[in-house]
Amino acid sequence: MKRTLLALSTVAAFAAVAADDPKQRQDLAAVIALQGKPCGEVVSYVAKADNDFVAICKDGNRYRVYVKDGRVIVEKQ
């Protein structure tokens, strides 16, 4: 049972891939800024799915940035 849980958590950890594409970081930073939310600079992000990210800002803010019904949504986390 313990092993199964461990395996599952490992899989889950890999499912949300932390990535470091500078272009993607800039894109996320621009999106967050366009929505008028404080961030400054995105220092890292996690890709949860297609067009679904969690961006971590330099100032400590975290935002989920995703697309829903053709709109880009930025949610503070």
């Binding site: 894109d27 366009l34 799915a49 940035v65």
Partner: protein, 176 residues
């Protein structure tokens, strides 16, 4: 797949923006009305003839003589090719995909406000719409200016034309 969908929707949204932008450029805006500073003689009756020997700065020193043709100051870019601008906006690497989509959302929202205005809803008056229009244009320009300054300049040059298109119901109708 998601990215492909995004690009499609971004393309169409941006096409609308470009069409709006490009259409405006056909007739460049009357950017800066010539400064009404001609009554120079009234201030100093005997001064005007003393200045000519010092033509160091062409704009300020040559105000009096009638040779004031070299003042097409504001960015009067070449006539804009709509299709190429559209393509350039789609292709530009200055703006990421999600940013393009986010901009498209905001353009759509603004156009919806103009549509409401043209439909007779008055909370947003034309004067009130000017501010969000300028704000959105500034966002676009600030995103483009560092990495695609030429495109930013072209869009900036068509600012007034875009405004005149948006604020004119008949001009806007074909693009809705």
């Amino acid at each position: 797949m998601g990215a492909r969908f995004l690009m499609g929707s971004v393309s169409s949204g941006f096409a609308a923006l470009v069409i709006v932008a490009g259409c405006g450029v056909v007739s460049p805006p009357p950017p800066t009305p010539p400064p009404a500073v001609e009554p120079k003689a009234a201030a100093k009756p005997d001064a005007p003839k003393a200045i000519p020997p010092k033509p160091a700065t062409p704009q300020t020193a040559k105000a009096a003589p009638p040779t004031t043709s070299p003042a097409p100051v504001a960015a009067k870019g070449p006539a804009l090719d709509l299709r190429s601008l559209e393509q350039r906006l789609k292709d530009t690497n200055a703006i990421g995909v999600m940013t393009k989509l986010s901009l498209k959302n905001q353009v759509d929202d603004l156009v919806a406000q103009f549509r409401a205005f043209h439909d007779g809803h008055r909370p947003p008056t034309l004067t009130e719409l000017r501010r969000p229009f300028e704000l959105l244009l500034m966002k676009v320009l600030s995103l483009l200016q560092d990495q695609d300054p030429a495109l930013a300049n072209q869009i900036n040059a068509s600012r007034e034309a875009i405004w005149s298109l948006l604020s004119d119901r008949d001009k806007l109708a074909p693009y809705l």
